[in-house]
Amino acid sequence: MEAHADGTPRRVNGQGVALVREEWRVVDRWWTEEPVDRRYFEVVLETGQNVVVFRDEERGGWFSQRGA
């Protein structure tokens, strides 16, 4: 994963990001031992593939979400 300075993804799995279609955020379960704080992106890769990735702000690191 590579990202721009503003946090938007630039490359996903080695593929360039052609378009960020949507960005959303999830902050939940903050009252538990496992709080969720994620910044999601739905992107179109240069290959034409549509993927959803998120940055986990709690634990750090990027993840891709299957079945999006």
């Binding site: 378009l19 959303w24 955020r25 009252w31």
Partner: protein, 1104 residues
């Protein structure tokens, strides 16, 4: 990861276009007055907006303008221009944002919101309840009919609504109808970016919608909190609203913490494709010029119709009364001059209509009182209500019947009530017996019309216990632990919950849990936020112009009543005429006492003619023998009475006003007592004052500030304030949201004092005392009115003790003591009290042959209607021959009949209660025929029981006593301490022997807890009043002892205390070192587990 790089296609870096960035104005923000949705107070939003650089901000709470005035004043204070609006819910549930452009628009908004609430309180479907004016109606959500919106759109700007529920999203076709009605210049499609999945697609559709409708788009934030730190609370509020846990309301929650007020530039950054819609907010805001603080246009009824002006009408009313009241008075000439002066001032201030309106309300009250009391009632001599507050300082009020105190004779000043610098109409407060007040409220609404009058609202705000329960439930914390903490919790202030949590034995474990940590933080965050709207105890507003164009009006929970959306402070800010119609339990008791006296003695008494200087009455007051006496019965008042020893109505007036938070916090109490004692020793004693300029204003209160009026007098004398300035100071002190205003006035006060030659330190010291007084004190006129009622009640108690006790018991709940204590006090004074009896008692308590007979309504679970049904049947068919006869003739549920037996109301047949209960269970009774809706009944066959009553052991004395307490909340027989005494250590001192002890000696006492006080002004000290078989003992529980024994102090009915006996003057207290429960001993001696539940709960006052 790279820090720079080309932007993905489709996203244009917005920052580059922000140079010379358009100003953004937030046009959609919710405060905590969007109940259980907004997480910030209006002033927090206003302050945050100022800090973030907003030029203007709109408050758009759900279906209301509850916080609009509070917000507008706060926003102006912080230099932000307030815009008034609301987010309305249409029939079907879609939302629209309405913003006010003009005065016409504001009137329409109020009408629309009134219409939205019109169907929120339908009458109960149960037809039996429909006739009852006191029936409560369940609330439905507000819903505005679309047609009403289309009709009343003038002066309003409409935005298409929020991202989730907006009309533009949910129903574009209806949005098109609304857009046509409002027109292109007043309808905008609203774009929001809550960072939810689907924002891009939704906003694209909304842009398309705007294009199709030929209207423009505008960006809004859908703000629900003023700061990101408050966003978690917003989640919790959603859970509370849904009555579930955070886990249980995921679909309703927002899913992130983006709904907070952000800096204009940060908002603009979120809308890279809509920079014009961002800029348009500022253009639109510039058009929304309506200022709710300036342009309301309120007018009170002016009575100017016809030939006679309002001034002339008022003069005529006053003159007629003047001729009656001052015919032979030695104050006649002074009164004449005073009347002329007041009428001239009233004319100048154009307030004649205001006084006439009050006069008219009082005339209505007379009519209502006549109806309620019935013709020829002995209560006819009593006024229908009594003035309190500043109104009684006016001769016009006296002559128009609004006050019963002659201000000329009582030497009361008009200053605070009316003056040339008057900025708001004065309040007039009227106290009524409860029965008259209930009827009068409905009559006033009928008289002036539903569009012109409403009750003032009040907002239930979060305090400790509510916060613990609601926040804890939302976080999914165990119910039992929350209840334990709620019982343990002290205060009103939910900010203290974290500190209380830290005192629990398992605090360390809890701190490790994120839920409990969040709980502590969120309880502090929710402290003081409004939870829901309710009804002010008695404030009504009346308007000449339809009130529904000035503030939305909505139905109250109680049928027949409606409330406006503003509380007392907002109504005050709006300059509304407010009449407080307050119910006062003691007035009800006095009225009933007068009735009982007339019935029993054949001669009605006229309380306005009793001597006001009866030294036997003052003798009891000086001895603090005042249980049940209005205003001077509390533990604190009794201790004060023993030291101040009031000898006349003037002394009593000071007494009534002295034990109040204002004088206590202002440091007036101890100096007053010391000065009074010094004056008793040396009649030439001159009370010291902070500055010679204060000698005269504080002369009657011996150098200290006791009355609210003296705040004005001090400000005028020391700092040279005008009447208007001094009144502004008093108003700032009396409001809950006035700290900033109070400090702003300090500078003017100190500066003025310096000009009068007062040094700065003294000026600050005096101001500190005034600020500490802070409005929690009585005006003198109020104290005069209350002192008179205190004296009248003391007089009735002395000369008609049985009738007075009977009336007090019937007027419960009221006063400082539970009924059990009133009964014990009556018995000590020689009044015989008999228990309830199915063959002797009425529904209420009555006096018969000089003895108080407790009413059947006192038996728990037997309601007034049940008691009356029983009494009526007895009147019809004669006394009941036995429990079988009772059960077959009276249609009471069987468990209520059991309650009558258990409470001793069937002891008249001389048979043990257990035997009666056995028999009752076997009595055949008529039963309803199934399917007939209770209309048809199967009669019981008159058969005798087929089983014999077994030999049941007699109840013990303990069991009977506990059954009495458990069944009626009182016992007229043996006291629990009398039964416990033989089992207690001999070193325990009974209450009547305390006087034999030396000051400072060790002592142990035991008793039943009657009252418990934890005043905010006492630094955590708890005062307990315990009762034994001989009288009362005052316990003082210092904070460390309290902290070690909270559960005992707060919950145990029977206690044993060891400590030091203290004698201060004639006061006797035990300062507690150790306190323990007598519960286990009592349970063991009585062989009963019901000791804790049967004995009455102590009354609790102040902080918990």
């Amino acid at each position: 990861m790279s820090s720079e790089g080309p932007a993905p296609r489709g996203i244009i870096p917005f920052r580059s276009r922000l140079r010379g960035a358009p100003t953004y104005v937030e046009l959609h923000a919710h405060s905590a007055y969007s109940f259980l949705d907004g997480a910030s107070r209006p002033e927090e939003l206003a302050a945050a907006a100022a800090e973030l650089g907003y030029e203007a901000l709109a408050l758009t709470d759900h279906d209301g303008v509850y916080g609009s005035l509070e917000f507008a004043h706060a926003a102006k204070f912080f230099g932000v221009r307030p815009i008034t609006g609301a987010e309305v819910t249409l029939d079907g549930g879609a939302h629209l944002t309405l913003l006010v452009e003009s005065a016409r628009g504001y009137a329409n908004l109020c009408r629309l919101l009134t219409a939205a609430h019109a169907r929120t309180r339908p009458l109960p479907s149960n037809s039996l309840l429909q006739g009852f004016s006191t029936a409560y109606r369940e609330a439905l959500p507000p819903a505005l009919p679309l047609e009403t919106l289309l009709e009343l759109n003038e002066g309003l700007v409409c935005l298409s609504g929020c991202a989730r529920h907006g009309l533009g999203v949910r129903d574009p076709n209806t949005a098109a109808r609304v857009a046509r009605a409002f027109g292109r210049d007043r309808f905008y499609v609203e774009l929001q970016r809550p960072f939810g999945r689907g924002d891009t697609r939704r906003n694209a559709l909304l842009r398309d919608l705007a294009g199709a409708l030929g209207v423009r788009t505008v960006v809004t934030g859908g703000v629900h909190a003023h700061h990101p730190a408050r966003a978690s609370l917003q989640d919790v509020l959603v859970a509370i609203r849904a009555n579930t846990s955070l886990e249980g309301c995921e679909p309703e929650r927002r899913g992130n913490h983006e709904c907070v007020l952000r800096a204009p530039a940060a908002v603009a950054e979120r809308f890279p494709l809509d920079h014009e819609a961002v800029a348009r907010t500022a253009e639109l805001a510039a058009r929304l010029e309506f200022d709710v603080t300036e342009e309301l246009g309120y007018r009170y009824p002016d009575f100017s119709e016809g030939d006679e002006t309002a001034d002339m009408q008022l003069a005529r009313v006053c003159e007629r009364a003047f001729q009656e009241r001052y015919a032979n008075s030695r104050y006649r000439s002074r009164a004449r001059a005073r009347l002329r002066k007041e009428l001239a001032l009233i004319g100048e201030l154009r307030l004649a209509g205001f006084f006439l309106l009050h006069h008219e309300v009082l005339e209505l009250a007379r009519e209502v009182a006549h109806e309620v009391r019935g013709p020829g009632s002995p209560r006819r001599f009593l006024p229908p209500g009594r003035g309190r507050g500043s109104s009684v300082g006016s001769i016009v009020c006296y002559l128009t019947g609004l006050s019963h105190v002659d201000p000329v004779e009582a030497d009361l000043s008009l200053g605070r009530f009316l003056n040339r610098e008057l900025v708001a109409v004065p309040d007039i407060d009227l106290d009524f017996p409860r029965d008259i007040r209930e009827r009068l409220i409905v009559r006033v609404i009928e008289r002036y019309g539903h569009e012109h009058t409403a009750l003032v609202s009040s907002f239930a705000t979060y305090r400790s216990r509510g916060a613990i329960r609601d926040v804890g439930k939302a976080l999914g914390l165990p119910h039992a632990e929350l209840e334990r903490l709620a019982r343990f919790s002290d205060g009103w202030n939910a900010k203290q919950v974290a500190a209380e949590l830290a005192q629990l034995p398992d605090a360390r474990e809890k701190v490790r849990s994120p839920r409990w940590r969040a709980f502590a933080e969120l309880c502090a965050a929710i402290a003081g936020l409004p939870r829901h709207i309710s009804q002010h105890p008695g404030g009504m507003v009346i308007s000449s112009r339809p009130l529904v164009e000035l503030v939305p009006v909505q139905p109250a929970a109680m049928a027949g009543r409606q409330i406006c959306q503003w509380d007392k402070d907002s109504c005050d800010d709006a300059g509304f005429l407010k009449i407080d119609l307050l119910g006062l339990g003691m007035l009800s008791a006095v009225e009933e006492c007068v009735e009982q006296i007339a019935r029993l003695h054949g001669e009605p008494i006229d309380l306005s003619r009793i001597p006001l200087d009866d030294q036997d009455v003052y003798g009891e007051i000086k001895q603090a023998d005042t249980v049940g006496v209005f205003q001077v019965e509390s533990r604190a008042q009794m201790q004060m009475l023993l030291r101040t020893r009031p000898e006349n109505l003037d002394d009593l007036t000071i007494e009534v006003a002295l034990v109040r938070p204002g004088p206590i916090q202002g440091g007036a109490v101890h100096p007053y007592i010391a000065h009074r004692e010094a004056l008793r020793r040396d009649p030439a004693f001159e009370p010291p004052v902070d500055h010679p300029l204060l000698a005269e204003p504080l002369r009657e209160t011996l150098g200290v500030v006791v009355f609210q009026d003296q705040v004005l007098a001090v400000a005028m004398a020391l700092a040279g304030f005008s009447v208007g300035e001094a009144e502004a100071l008093r108003r700032a002190m009396s409001r809950k949201r006035s700290e900033a205003a109070l400090e702003a006035l300090r500078g003017r006060f100190v500066e003025g004092a310096r000009r009068n030659g007062v040094d700065e330190e003294t000026a600050h010291r005096v101001y500190d005392k005034l600020a500490a007084f802070s409005g929690f004190g009585f005006p003198k006129s109020h104290a005069v009115a209350f002192a008179l009622l205190a004296y009248q009640s003391a007089w009735l108690r002395r000369y008609f003790p049985a009738e007075f006790l009977c009336a007090l018991l019937n007027a419960q709940p009221m006063g400082f003591y539970p009924p059990a204590t009133l009964v014990r006090d009556g018995q000590r004074r020689g009044v015989d009290v008999l228990p309830p009896d199915v063959n002797e008692s009425e529904a209420k308590c009555v006096v018969e042959y000089g003895v108080v007979r407790v009413g059947l309504g006192y038996v728990r679970s037997v309601g007034e209607a049940d008691a009356e049904a029983l009494v009526n049947e007895r009147a019809r068919g004669g006394p009941f021959a036995g429990v079988r006869d009772l059960a077959q003739r009276v249609p009471l549920e069987r468990d209520r009949l059991r309650a009558l037996v258990s409470a001793g109301a069937c002891d008249c047949w001389g048979r043990p209660r257990r035997e009666l209960l056995w028999e009752l269970a076997l009595v055949p009774r008529a039963e309803s025929v199934g399917g007939s809706g209770g209309e048809e009944r199967q009669l019981a066959l008159p058969l005798d029981p087929t089983v014999e009553t077994p030999e049941l052991p007699e109840q013990t004395v303990w069991e009977r006593m506990l059954a009495d307490y458990g069944g009626t909340s009182m016992s007229v027989g043996v006291h629990p301490l009398e039964l416990l005494r033989p089992h207690l250590s001999r070193d325990l001192v009974p209450s009547h022997r305390l006087g034999d002890l030396d000051h400072g000696s060790d002592v142990a006492v035991a008793g039943m807890v009657v009252a418990r006080q934890r005043p905010a002004t006492a630094n955590g000290v708890v005062f307990m009043l315990v009762e034994d078989e001989h009288g009362h003992v005052n316990l003082i529980v210092p904070p460390p002892v309290y902290d070690r024994n909270r559960a005992v102090v707060r919950g145990e009915p029977l206690v044993l205390a060891r400590g030091t006996f203290e004698r201060a003057g004639r006061n006797r207290n035990v300062v507690v070192r150790h306190i323990e429960t007598l519960g286990p001993l009592a349970r063991s001696v009585s062989r009963s587990d019901t000791v804790g539940t049967a004995l009455p709960n102590a009354h609790h006052f102040g902080h918990r």
